[in-house]
């Protein structure tokens, strides 16, 4: 699969301080999460990819374009929703998004049309003529998303998109991001320190710690793998015979105490088959749980690494 973002020994220093240290990764997901504690270098990485900071060493490629040599072209492919409150003072919402679309190269009339569309899309259609300064925090976040998508980018950078939102507004924002992801017209890079946001929206995660890549995983694969890992609690029957039958089906098993068994199902074997075998052998399956290696586990493991280096 072609890389969306390829980090090739990327290093950024501010003075003597190294902020990003020799980052190497090839991100191919439709929705890529950028996780890390505060100060890990998430925003610096986004800003470097946007060309706001010059790499001290190495480079990165976005959709095949080098950020050092094709910065302008790279920016034409990106829609950026910044973390902080960012807007142009004294403008109505639709006027602001239209200006941003025109600066991205859209002709006047197209820019206006798309500004209206973007505002309806993010749910601000009714307030699009109100001055931006009067918007609530949630509305400002949505307006930032509208300006990021109005010019039809190929890749969307979302920096802490749910920052400061109340639960309903957060849920709406996540829903919008998921919709954008599922439409498949553009790819996402979502930077957040909220694991839940990343887990709900992304299929690939890059975890940064102290400017290093602490972990890089494909959430989709993790989810798939997790679906095959089970823990069951059984009662009655002869456990040894049940275990042998289950192993014959291709499962890897690890018996525990009090009838507990850990299982890894082979591809193609459905859980229903386990119940059938158990019924044949008069074994009761009292509890069945999918043992998930959640994003939180992955994140915590990554944070345990001494300097965050993989």
């Amino acid at each position: 699969m072609d890389s969306v973002i390829e980090l090739d020994g990327l290093e950024v220093r501010f003075g003597q301080r190294a902020i990003l240290k020799n980052l190497r990764a090839s991100l191919t997901g439709k929705a890529i999460g950028l996780l890390g504690p505060n100060g890990a270098g998430k925003s610096t990485l986004l800003n470097t990819l946007l060309g706001f900071h010059k790499p001290t060493a190495g480079t990165a490629r976005i959709l095949g374009r080098d950020i050092r040599t094709h910065a302008r072209e790279v920016r034409s492919l990106i829609g950026y929703m910044p973390e902080n409150d960012s807007f142009i003072a004294g403008m109505s919402g639709v006027h602001f998004v239209r200006l941003m679309a025109e600066l991205a190269g859209l002709p006047r009339e197209h820019a206006l049309e798309r500004a209206h569309e973007a505002f309806f899309y993010v749910g601000l259609g009714e307030v699009r003529y109100r001055p931006l300064g009067t918007y609530s925090l949630g509305m400002k976040q949505a307006a930032k998303l509208a300006q990021a998508i109005a010019h039809g980018p190929k890749l969307l950078f979302l920096d802490e998109p749910t920052n400061g939102l109340d639960p309903p507004a957060r849920s709406r924002m996540i829903q919008l991001i998921q919709e954008i992801r599922d439409r498949g017209d553009l790819q996402l890079l979502l930077s957040s320190h909220l694991l839940r946001d990343v887990e709900e929206c992304c299929d690939q995660v890059l975890i940064l710690k102290d400017g290093n890549v602490a972990a890089f995983c494909n959430l989709e694969e993790e989810r798939r793998a997790n679906r095959r890992f089970l823990e069951i609690e059984t009662r009655g029957g002869v456990n040894g015979s049940f275990l042998a039958t289950v192993e014959k089906l291709g499962c890897e098993t690890a018996p525990g105490v009090q009838g507990r068994i850990k299982l890894i199902l082979p591809d193609g074997l459905e859980v229903r088959r386990l119940y059938e075998v158990a019924a044949d052998q008069s074994v009761q399956i009292r509890r069945l749980s999918r043992k998930r290696d959640s994003l939180e586990d992955i994140f915590l493991k990554a944070m345990e690494t001494a300097d965050g280096r993989l």
Binding site: F14, D85, I88, A89, Q147, G152
Partner: protein, 300 residues
């Protein structure tokens, strides 16, 4: 697609040429400026002096007005010479200073105060284009107030006097044009640089006045205490006025310069110092802009 169909679709239409995108900024800025009644009135009021100068030229060439005033035998009421056009330039440029102090800070300060720069520069739009777009707002506005009316006054006088006068005094036209541009460039750069540095509109406007008038006071103190003329290096109006004098009259000064930009005879500094000081001022402004106009401010 109708806007009520709340969905997202990629854009596949044509794009504007990238060289022309900086022109989006002045277009929006002028729409914004038009909403301010004060600025609109101030802008139109700035055309009063050129109208008065045009009237003076008309009177100068109208025998019936002479007879109405009871001055049938007189050749002229006023001299239309270098001093006359320096007065046109001086008045228009001082009015331009007032307008620049109001309009200039509103160009960059709000963008910096509201973190708007990241939004501009995250697009295929460079820092140079941003500054150029913002500067062009001031350049267009100040041009309309300075060299455009100045050249109209010159053209009217030329029309009244004929081709011989016009060709003999073309130096006044070039003086108005280039003299205005020197002032426009300095004002625009100063207004943008100071507003980028201060981020607060009223303070930035005050600083522009401060730099023009308070620095002049410091220069006068230096001149008084040290019994020298080098204090004029702090007086931007003096430095610009020296260059105007050279543009209008060459090295044989017959006037004391333009109003508000006076250069008293005997107090002149070598002309090269005016050029050097003003160039240094522009470089400092460029440096200030380069430091502040960034997508993301780095706190080291």
């Amino acid at each position: 697609m109708a806007v009520y169909k709340k969905t997202y679709r990629p854009y596949e239409g044509a794009l504007t040429p990238s060289w022309s995108r900086f022109l989006v900024i002045p277009r929006y800025a002028f729409e914004d400026l038009q909403r301010s009644k004060f600025l609109t009135i101030a802008f139109y009021a700035s055309f009063l002096p050129p109208l008065i100068f045009l009237l003076l030229i008309y009177v100068q060439h109208n025998a019936s007005v002479f007879s109405f005033l009871g001055a049938q035998g007189a050749n002229r009421l006023i001299s239309i010479d270098a001093g006359f056009f320096l007065r046109v330039l001086g008045w228009q440029c001082i009015l331009a200073l007032f307008l620049a102090a109001f309009v200039g800070p509103s160009q960059i300060s709000p963008d910096l105060a509201n973190n708007g720069l990241a939004l501009y520069l995250a697009r295929p739009f460079s820092r140079v284009e941003y500054v150029l777009g913002k500067m062009s707002v001031l350049m267009i506005l100040l041009s309309m107030m300075t060299w455009v009316p100045g050249l109209l006054v010159f053209a009217y006088q030329g029309y009244m006097e004929g081709w011989d006068w016009t060709s003999a005094n073309l130096r006044f036209a070039t003086g108005i044009f280039f003299g205005s541009w020197i002032w426009i460039l300095i004002l625009s750069l100063m207004a943008l640089a100071l507003s980028a540095w201060v981020k607060w509109k009223p303070a930035a406007g005050g600083l522009i006045f401060g730099f023009i008038f308070v620095a002049t006071g410091f220069g006068a103190i230096i001149n008084g205490v040290q019994r020298t003329n080098w204090g004029y290096l702090l007086n931007v109006r003096f430095l610009v006025g020296s260059i105007w004098l050279w543009l209008f009259e060459g090295s044989n000064n017959t006037t004391g310069g333009a109003p508000f930009f006076a250069v008293n005879q005997g107090e002149e500094l070598p002309l090269a110092w005016s050029w050097i000081t003003l160039s240094l001022l522009c470089l400092v402004c460029f440096y200030m802009l380069a430091r502040k106009i960034r997508g993301m401010e780095v706190v080291r």
